[in-house]
Amino acid sequence: MNNVITKNETIMSVEGLTKNFKSGLINPKITVAAKNVSFELTPGKIISLVGESGSGKTTVGRLLLKLIQPTAGKIFYRGKDITQIKTRNEKISYYRKVQAVFQDPFASFNPLYKVDRVFNMIFENYLKDENNKKEKIEKALSEVHLNIERTLGKYPHQLSGGQLQRLLIARALLLDVDILIADELISMLDASTRIGVLNLLAEICEKKGMSIIFITHDLNLGYYISEETLIMYKGRLVEKGNTKKIYENPLHPYTKMLFKAVPEIGEKWDKDEDFFPEQVVNEVKNFYKANAKKGFVEVESNHSVLFSDD
């Protein structure tokens, strides 16, 4: 799994990923959390996965991390379908290259242990033969701009949310991962610190050629950091492509609604305009009906839109 992949090759490709959740024993109800999600990832690129709660963005993240098994679809990492891997060794070698950082930094750390534990666990689980542990940790910490003396040996409650998130990114750097899945990484951080963490992600991505899947509900953050954007609605990918193209010319009614709702400094909402988020359900239905095109269609280069719901 360690061949060098050049900039324009695909490092991960997701094809028709679907996940249904079943609930209830008698008359089980099926919730489609993700349906037919496909996209590709190239090295050194940040792709943001944008959607509201319940859109299935976290489900996609969990599928990519093999935390849950897909109902259908394939995930190719360096040409190998990782939905099929079963053995522990295969899994370990996958996790050596694909890691995640989640929303709540305080929940990611065990409050009873010092923060160093996350690094020790990495060595225990993935890098047993590593000799220069200390050196490696120091290098990773300096890459996330953390002061070693002020962070190592501390307990989670002694550090701020931003520092903890940086530590978790450093943890991923120890492994020299190919892909980092950042699920709402900065939504719990303060305005003044979140931009620092965001810049750090972009910097690492540039320097190390790491790819980042940036899961967020905040369109402004997605625009700032990512080259490509995927918009999710009710488990479906409704629009994908170059970030600038989507933001300048959103075509799917759901994407349009999102842009209308996002608060921006310098541009006020139209006060007379009726804004009912519920209406989007009907708008989407009408959009699908009114269009002769079917499925996912590329409307311009690197900008595709979903035109039907089947």
Binding site: S192, N220, L258, F259
Partner: protein, 328 residues
């Protein structure tokens, strides 16, 4: 000149704990006029929620230290507990943070509403529910929602129920603490619009909208007040604060906001280095000085509130010199 609903002068309220005082609200002054939405912004731990708690329920370890809080002309800090409670129930309403999670899962919305208004000494009779239904209509909620359980509602719907409920007695002041931060962007805009509507329809007299999200405040607030580490930093009309901030902290905060149109590839935004100081037994001095690029010796003293114009106040020694310079 419109009537002042709330007038706060040099309010100090500390958390008194064994180790000393946590000075979470330290010398805050501002006014809210009738018909106004005042946005209160700042980082977590800056004292914005403590300020709200001071106005509603001073529960230990939070203690009132000094200053004046006039609600419709009456100083509520000097009142007897019972009188204050009565006035509070009549005139102030609050939507606390995480109000969405405070629904009882075993009660229908209708029962929940009845229970709450009974506490205010109102019998939830037919007339009362007629009013509730009118308000539900105003926020685009179906009347049948009353007979549903909270788990059946989405976050946005719950927030609307909360907003109807908190404004049902037509309060003079509605304190909304982070009501949009747990919501999706679409529900966020709806909730924010609703607050404006409630104000426009004169259902609520005025509102303090507490949030860390300046972009939302820009949309709905008439004036914005910025707090940092328990201290007042700047207050002024929304457009002035956003487009022509004077305090270095406000400048930094606004410059760090990502907006559509700015990409990392083209412009790298700057955050603010460091973290806010601990407020435990904090000494005199401007509390932003530890992170401020403009600090000098005089910043070891607490800056006084200075007037820029009739509406715009700042507390910084050097605001004139800094002028329109950007935060470095």
């Amino acid at each position: 000149m419109r009537e002042n609903v709330l007038e706060i002068n040099n309010l100090k309220a500390y958390y008194k704990i064994l180790k000393g005082d946590v000075k979470a609200v330290d010398g805050i002054s501002f006014k809210i006029r009738r018909g106004e939405i005042l946005g209160l912004a700042g980082e977590s731990g800056c004292g914005k929620s403590t300020l709200a708690s001071t106005l509603i329920s001073l529960t230990p370890p939070l203690h009132y230290v000094s200053g004046e809080v006039k609600l419709i002309g009456k100083d509520i800090m000097k009142m007897k507990q019972n009188d204050f409670r009565k006035m509070r129930l009549e005139n102030i309403s609050v939507i606390p943070q995480y109000a969405l999670d405070a629904f009882s899962p075993t009660k229908k919305i209708k029962t929940y509403i009845s229970d709450i208004v009974k506490e205010h000494g109102i019998t939830p009779d037919k007339n009362f529910f007629k009013k509730v239904e009118e308000r539900f209509d105003l926020v685009n909620l179906e009347i049948s929602t009353l007979d549903r359980y909270s788990i059946e509602l989405s976050g946005g719907m719950k927030q609307r129920v909360i907003m109807v409920l908190s404004s049902i007695l037509d309060p003079d002041l509605l304190i909304a603490d982070e009501i949009t931060s747990a919501l999706d962007v679409s529900s966020q805009r709806f909730a924010a619009n609703m607050l404006c509507n409630l104000r426009d329809e004169k259902i609520i007299g005025s509102s303090i909208f507490i949030t860390h999200d300046l972009a939302i405040l820009y949309q709905i607030a008439d004036r914005i007040m910025i707090m940092y580490a328990g201290q007042f930093t700047e207050i002024g009309p929304t457009d002035e604060i956003v487009k022509n901030p004077k305090h270095p902290y406000t400048k930094a905060l606004i410059n760090s906001l990502p907006q559509v149109g700015i990409q990392y590839k083209d412009t790298v935004l700057k955050g603010i280095k460091g973290a806010p100081p601990s407020l435990l037994n904090i000494e005199e001095g401007c509390r932003f000085r530890f992170r401020c690029p403009y600090k000098t010796e005089q910043c070891e003293k607490t800056p006084v509130r200075e007037k820029i114009n009739d509406e715009h106040f700042v507390s910084c020694f050097r605001w004139k010199e800094i002028g329109s310079g950007n935060y470095e």
